[in-house]
Amino acid sequence: MRVKVISVPVRDQEKALQFYTQKLGFVKKFDVPLGEGNRWLTVVSKEEPEGTEILLEPSPNHLQEAKTYQQALFDKGIPYTQFNVDNTQQEYERLVKLGVEFSVKPTEMGTVKIAVFNDTCGNNIQIVEML
């Protein structure tokens, strides 16, 4: 058994694709139409093109429970998932310049440094640097 895909719920797949590629720097891997405007849409890290894919999944648009769960996490400031970075401070500064909004600025938390931003698609996402 292997981990190949993890999903992130998004309310607008096209907007999510723009954010995850243009701001975060991921690259599109698969884009397969699934009817009624839905897509099997995945992105991967440029540094690990064969690594785990992120599925930008439109579940909040189709399942009220998914929307409720996503909204509850967002309102409490809880990250839906996290991505690793080499340097949280540098990544924070790069993303702020691109207009990304952070709810948690770079903060040391034991052996990691974290920060949390709004992905504009309904989620808080955490970046983590291992110190």
Partner: protein
């Protein structure tokens, strides 16, 4: 302040209030990161981290969730994957990440990645050509 920010503050107080211990393990981990190609052992690390061998071992495991040896092995394999992908030969890769014996490198590489270094190299070359 959001619920999550409050939780960060609360957990920090409970788990990460001992700055001396944190400084010791972070320094040890950074030494490992910068010396993957050299011989690294617990006695050396205890001198770097200013703690006794067994205390450091316990602290490292407490804060990083694995022993220094496990961390070193994972980092070496991670680095060897990058080196093989960048075109380094398997022998060069083996020595570049601090292994002295190609057969023990090969065994460990296979146990961690599921492929022997040469199988991995073939797959990396094949993927690159497409």
């Amino acid at each position: 302040m959001s619920f999550y920010q409050e939780e960060i503050t609360r957990i920090k107080k409970i788990c990460f209030s001992n700055e001396r211990q944190l400084a010791a393990v972070v320094k040890t981990k950074q030494y490992i990161d910068n010396n993957l190609d050299k011989e690294v052992n617990l006695i050396l690390l205890s001198n770097i981290g200013f703690a006794s061998k067994f205390h450091l071992l316990r602290l490292f495991k407490k804060y990083y969730g694995m022993t220094p040896k496990q961390y070193l092995t994972d980092k070496r394999i991670e680095e060897s994957i990058r080196n093989i992908k960048s075109g380094m030969t398997i022998a060069e890769t083996c020595f570049s990440v601090g292994f002295e014996c190609p057969s023990s490198f090969s065994t460990l590489f296979k146990s961690k990645t599921g492929f022997s270094p040469s199988e991995f190299q073939k797959r990396a070359t094949f993927t690159k050509s497409f």
